[in-house]
């Protein structure tokens, strides 16, 4: 069981309110990702749930029990830190055993769980090494192992992949997703990387300046972002946001169109533009196209085979069924 409820939870450091009162429910077994730009309060929110920071107001309930004043050790949650936070003076085995040792678990049960975790995480050969002798990915797996053996009600991940290189990050992303499928334990995951959020989450919580901008499944957020901020934040590359006469045509203050929802033609279309920088990813190519009368260049996605070069003149046509409209407050117009 791992149902976490935040009821008007707020946090202030001195006079600075980093999280205004917010409500959020994390269901048992859900993979929830907190995502947002640096300083949006996502890590603080996770630390409030963990109990590493005291709330300034509101209530945190875990499985229906008020846990607001419960010390971190007693909340039944396990946490994986960005820096791994392994105990450098202990072997991998002792690192993984530490939470069980603190809980006073019998030695043979400890050994059984260590073996199981090591096997699941490919750490069996490294059990007697110190963290300093491991690579970044292995260290992160030890941190995860230390979290699993306790069989917590929920796992908390604080940007666990940011210290890994790009290739390793993709691998670990899959491993964590797999772990979630296997354990079906609640996971709360903090990241600034919207790709991680999109690929891993059952539910994404988009935060900005301590406020929840939108909660929903990755596809909900992608299809119908509630406001301009979410529209710009979710999706890679970013959604093109246009203001001015073009938006007026659709009776909106801002309109948004994703790079994948713009058709390219060499002879006719709604907008005439000049190709600027192109980014070739192999499977796809992203063109940055300057359109007359638009403030910013548009990003357009095409298949990897499209041959367009710097300076070429092209015509673009947005797919109106995928056009997002926002009002003066930046809110979505249905």
């Amino acid at each position: 069981m791992g149902r976490i409820t935040l009821d008007k939870v707020s946090k202030a450091f001195g006079d600075v309110e980093v999280i205004p009162p917010l409500d959020l429910t994390i269901e048992d077994g859900e993979f929830v990702v907190f995502v947002g730009p640096s300083g949006c309060g996502k890590s603080t929110l996770l630390r409030l749930i963990a109990g590493l920071e005291d709330v300034s107001g509101g209530e945190i309930r875990i499985n229906g029990q008020d846990a607001t004043q419960t010390p971190p050790a007693k909340r039944g949650l396990a946490m994986v830190f960005q820096s791994y936070a392994l105990y450098p003076h202990m072997s991998v085995r002792k690192n993984i055993a530490f939470p069980m040792r603190m809980a006073g678990m019998p030695k043979d049960e400890q050994d059984r769980r260590i073996e199981a975790a090591a096997k699941a995480l490919n750490l069996t050969d490294y059990l007697d090494r110190r963290p300093g002798q491991l690579s970044g990915g292995q260290r992160q797996r030890v941190a995860i192992g230390r979290a699993i053996v306790r069989e917590p009600d929920a796992f908390l991940f604080d940007e666990p992949l940011s210290n890994l290189d790009a290739a390793l990050r993709v691998g670990m992303r899959l491993e964590i997703s797999e772990l979630h499928k296997r354990l079906t334990t609640t996971m709360v995951y903090v990241t600034h990387d919207q790709v991680e959020a999109m690929t891993m989450a059952d539910k994404i919580v988009v935060l900005q300046a301590g406020r929840i901008e939108q909660v929903g499944s990755p596809m909900e957020l992608y299809r119908s972002p509630r406001n301009v901020f979410v529209a710009g934040f979710i999706g890679s590359p970013k959604m093109n946001l246009l203001t001015g006469p073009e938006a007026d045509k659709h009776s909106a203050t801002t309109i948004g169109i994703r790079p994948e929802h713009i058709a390219i033609s060499s002879d006719a279309g709604a907008w005439k533009g000049t190709v600027g920088v192109s980014e070739h990813l192999g499977s796809d190519t992203f063109f940055h196209v300057t359109v007359e009368g638009f403030h910013d260049p548009l990003t357009v996605r095409a298949s990897g085979e499209v041959a367009l070069y710097y300076g070429d003149t092209i015509y673009l046509t947005p797919d109106l069924t995928h056009l997002h409209r926002f009002d003066a407050q930046g809110l979505r117009i249905a």
Binding site: K74, L77, Y87
Partner: protein, 276 residues
Amino acid sequence: MARSVSTNRKLVTTFFAWVVGLAIFFPILWTILTSFKTEAQAIADPPIFFNFHWTLENYVTVQERSNYFRHFWNSVVLSGGSTLLGLIIAIPAAWSMAFVPSRRTKDILMWMLSTKMLPPVGVLVPMYLIFRNLGLLDTQIGLVIVLTLINLPIIVWMLYTYFKEIPGEILEAARMDGATLRSEILYVLTPMAIPGIASTVLLNIILAWNEAFWTLNLTAAKAAPLTAFIASYSSPEGLFYAKLSAASTMAIAPILIMGWFSQKQLVRGLTFGAVK
């Protein structure tokens, strides 16, 4: 960044380094040499350097007249005891200052250090009276307490600096892993800070071993450490340089040997945090 240094310059620098080093070491060398001379040779003018009749007579006399080992044992108890007691108080104090600082932590640290700026003689009379009234004069326990209090600011400062270097996330991880405050300090913080604690212990033992003001003023015979042992050769029946030197050599030898073997730890401890 490497800087090219000419051979000449290296020679000059090395020469001066040796001169300064020898100048600093000379008093100790002279004391040791004198301790092997007769009283007459010790005060000879011009002074004799190596060309004298080496004798162990002074050491025998000193040991016969005043029990060296009793003083030595007192020194061990006082420096060891005050260091241990200091650590027991300073580790939690430094923990709280390093990991849960309040708005006043810096001020408290400064204030603690400022107590070291007070001349001890300023509080000699009140301290003496307190000790007399509590029956602590000339007791090991009384001196252990005084030495602990004197060196506590330094222990707290040093440990604070070391603890600051330990990432807070590791302690938070311990907390998440179910460690109580006691287990967190005992199983995570302390083992990680062992190098720092070691150099703090070494420095503190040296400071306590050499402390002469309070040990001389608050002891008479029973609890008197080696400082009192040396001092006892400096007055009543006039100065006996050779014997005084023998006593001094015997007093500083243990700590000198310990310092020699733990040089690396000590240097690391004293320069810690200077370069990051």
